[in-house]
């Protein structure tokens, strides 16, 4: 093997197979490419039959696409995972304390840790929530924290998804499909199960029901409907949780109480797991054109008669400008250094940083502070001159709207592409649940993989694929380093 520039999940820097992957290496060696191709085709058929499709906005021909699934798993050892878990719990606790604070006493602004306009200028800051508390002070009930790895034991947070993170259905269904299709590979490993996620999620949602809820709380999942890109996931989760999948017009508000329309008349709703963004949730409070929302929902929410998860206003913590302050935010609220580091970030709002970014556009990744899904970003090393010039104009018009990061040496993992095995860049999104009884991370997550050679963009809207992610006991490996 020749030495590689990027850390590879299976082969390190190319000198030797990491012990964790011995079973995979062995399996790949004895499985011919045509069998792998058959397995991949079977997996795709299973995904089609299950109905895990994804709608791409702006796509005109094939509106229901399959996210590419790679059959080679990504493996993380239990000890690596335990360290990540501690960092994730700390980070999500800090996010919740941060939200309680900026919608409350704003101590962090008083202490001068953050420039105030970074909050007030933020499009996702909800002044309506100022001075309000949410049950158990939990704002972000479900967080998807995007991690990247750059080397042995080196993980960094790339993004905090604190609004309505998606992808957990892939974490669960990828595992089911792998168990069915690759029992031979499974028998070489002991893998931490993920199928208790739905139970953990339901427990977290029930735990934050308003105190006004009588008896067993009624939880529903609010979806924008079947044309939403993540609709499969909404229906999948509602089914696993045994809760109703509702659309805006299934709900109504009377005297500040939310009801769903049932065959037996109105039924009171206590907790809404919404997969609709703040802007669309209540036409009376936010976007008046929204047909997806529930008129009067916010009044019921303010009255404490319904819990909305994630809380309204969490988008402010999801912002990439805030992200750059996360190490300070973690320190401020927990009194400890952040256990999970950030990727180096230049805030273009700061003149020196702006100047640096402007001069190094061809080397950097530049992102809008509240963009998502891989839209509105520039990947310098892969962009044409014209792309860069075009992007520079937008940047100059509003520098504070952008941050920049170095193009990371994202780790790769072997993937089966076309008819051979080749390294592709990956990230990892674990899902972190917070309820009245604390923070819980199901051991696993969604590994996203950039299916094009050399590409660093893993978003499914940009052609990224997924892999099953295995957390395995260290006894399977005798990795020294």
């Amino acid at each position: 093997m020749s030495k590689t520039r990027f850390f590879d999940e299976m082969n390190g820097y190319g000198e030797t197979t990491r012990a964790l992957y011995a079973g995979v290496a062995d399996w790949l060696k004895k499985t011919p490419a045509d069998i792998l191709a058959t397995r991949r085709a079977q997996a795709e058929l299973m995904f089609r039959r299950i109905g895990i499709t994804f709608a791409v906005y702006g796509g005109n021909d094939d509106t229901e696409r399959l996210i590419p699934f790679d059959i080679i798993p990504r493996i993380v050892s239990q000890s690596e995972w335990s360290a990540l878990e501690i960092g994730l719990v700390q980070r999500v606790n800090a996010l919740n304390m941060f939200l309680s604070d900026i919608y409350g006493a704003r101590e962090i602004l008083k202490a001068g840790v953050l420039p105030p306009d970074i909050i007030y200028r933020n499009a996702y800051f909800r002044p309506e929530m100022a001075g309000r508390r949410v049950p158990h002070d939990v704002w972000v009930h479900i967080a998807g924290i995007d991690l990247v790895r750059t080397g042995e034991g080196e993980f960094f947070v790339l993004e905090d998804n604190a609004r309505t993170p998606s992808g957990v259905s892939y974490m669960l269904e990828n595992r089911e499909v792998m168990m069915r299709l690759m029992p031979d590979l499974f028998s070489a490993y002991r893998i931490a199960p993920v199928d208790n996620y739905a139970d953990a999620l339901l427990a977290a949602l029930r735990s934050v029901a308003p105190t006004a809820a009588r008896g067993e709380p009624t939880v529903v999942l609010l979806t924008p409907g079947q044309y939403n890109s993540a609709y499969y996931e909404h229906s999948f989760l509602a089914d696993r949780l045994g809760i109703e999948l509702v659309e805006g017009h299934d709900l109504s508000v009377r005297e500040e109480v939310v009801y769903m329309k049932t065959t037996q008349g109105p039924k009171r709703v206590d907790v809404i797991y919404r997969r609709v963004d703040d802007d669309w949730i209540d036409p009376l409070s936010f976007n008046p054109d929204s047909a997806l929302g529930v008129p009067g929902l916010m009044n019921a929410y303010y009255a404490g008669n319904v819990t909305i998860t994630n809380a309204v206003g969490t988008g402010v913590a999801d912002d990439k400008a805030i992200y750059s302050y996360m190490p300070e935010i973690v320190k401020f609220y927990t009194g400890q250094e952040a256990k999970l580091g950030n990727v180096q970030t230049w805030r273009c709002r700061e003149p020196d940083a702006y100047k640096y970014v402007r001069e190094h556009l061809d080397e950097l990744v530049v992102k809008e502070v509240n963009g998502s899904g891989g839209y509105g970003m520039l990947v310098g090393p892969h962009a044409t001159r014209a792309d860069i010039d075009e992007f520079a104009k937008r940047l100059d018009a509003d520098p504070a709207n952008y941050i920049a990061q170095p193009t990371l040496a994202l780790s790769t993992c072997p993937a089966f592409v076309d008819d051979s095995i080749a390294p592709r860049h990956v990230d990892l999104r674990p899902f972190v649940l917070t309820g009245a009884n604390g923070v819980h991370v199901v051991p696993g997550g969604l590994t996203r993989v950039a299916m094009r050679a050399g590409s660093l963009v893993v978003n499914s809207s940009q052609g990224g694929g997924t892999k099953d992610t295995w957390i395995i006991e260290d006894t399977n490996s005798n990795e020294g380093a």
């Binding site: 069915r180 029992p183 045994g242």
Partner: protein, 319 residues
């Protein structure tokens, strides 16, 4: 109807249901056995699979160790095990051929096609082509599909007369036995001793029980809360909306036995016994069952259910 025809119809349904249950048990056991050590109790998953299908003693007569490969072979292709899936399908086909004219074309074809496919798989296995962990999952899927096909064909194409009633009586009698055995093996993890949720070592045991009866989602729809062992017991014993519960099976059994009684103008001990069991289930609550002891309740149920089988045989099948 010939007593012999009725007997074949009844056993045919039982064998197919048993094959289906065995396939399900292998599936969930493989899943449990693959969990990391800190997610399960001290092993013994495969012994408990054998116990759940009532084959522990016969297994011990021919194997010394309950390894995954031994147990899976014993329960799937082993010709020496009278309740292996292979033997169940073989016996079902023999029964079906014996009474070919009492079956609809669809029913016969589902059994016959299933048997031919199984023989083809067995040939490949002997040739070394179809073996190892890889082949088991597709095989189990196949077995479940055969049972779905047979059950659906019976439901859709049979006349609603005594032939259909014997088919259903066989099905529900076997299913009640299977559900009860599953609980009997797992009763120790179903006791309401702790309130802890999620963190319990038994969590994956509980969900395995639900998986075995395809009720993971059903559970959440019925109870709308996280998995609790006493609610699993409630679902599998008392809930009439659950198609594998003891209550549902006995609803079916009393109904179809009554249909027989009416059509033949004569009620007998089987009808009376089935109604007694149903009455006992209907008047029970989980509190009363746990007070009596879940194990005791289930053991008594299995005995009663066997007794019903014997009474049906006496009354209708062995004149």
């Amino acid at each position: 109807m010939l007593a012999r025809t009725a007997e074949n119809l009844y056993w045919l349904a039982r064998y197919i249901e048993r094959a289906d249950f065995t396939a399900r048990i292998i599936e969930v056991t493989a899943r449990l056995a693959a969990l990391p050590q800190n997610y399960r109790r001290s092993g013994g998953e495969w012994e408990s699979a054998l116990a759940a299908v009532g084959a522990l003693n016969s297994f011990k007569a021919s194997f010394s160790e309950a390894t995954e490969s031994n147990v899976v072979f014993f329960l799937t292709f082993d010709e020496a095990n009278p309740s292996s899936i292979r033997r169940c399908l073989e016996q079902a086909r023999i029964n079906a051929r014996t009474i070919r004219t009492a079956l609809t074309a669809e029913m016969w074809q589902s059994i016959n096609a299933g048997w031919l496919e199984l023989k083809a798989m067995e040939e490949k296995r002997r040739g070394g082509e179809y073996s190892g962990a890889d082949s088991i999952q597709p095989f189990l899927e196949f077995v479940k599909a055969v049972s779905l096909d047979f059950d659906g064909s019976s439901y859709r194409t049979m006349l609603r007369n005594d032939a259909y009633w014997f088919n259903r009586i066989g099905l529900y009698c076997e299913r009640a036995d299977n559900t009860a055995r599953l609980m009997d093996v797992k009763y120790n993890v179903l006791l309401p001793k702790t309130e802890e949720v999620g963190g319990s070592l038994d969590y994956f045991q509980w969900t395995a029980i639900l998986r075995a009866v395809s009720a993971q989602t059903a559970y959440h729809w019925v109870y709308r809360e996280s998995v609790k062992p006493w609610l699993i017991a409630d679902l599998l014993i008392l809930r009439k909306e659950m198609p594998r519960s003891l209550a549902y099976c006995y609803d079916g059994l009393t109904r179809f036995l009554d249909s027989l009684g009416k059509a033949y103008g004569k009620q007998g001990l089987a009808q009376r016994h089935a109604r007694n069991i149903l009455r006992r289930i209907d008047s029970a609550s989980m509190e009363s069952i746990f007070q009596q002891g879940l194990h005791e309740f289930v053991t008594k149920f299995i005995e009663d259910n066997n007794r019903l089988g014997a009474l049906i045989a006496e009354q209708y099948l062995h004149h």
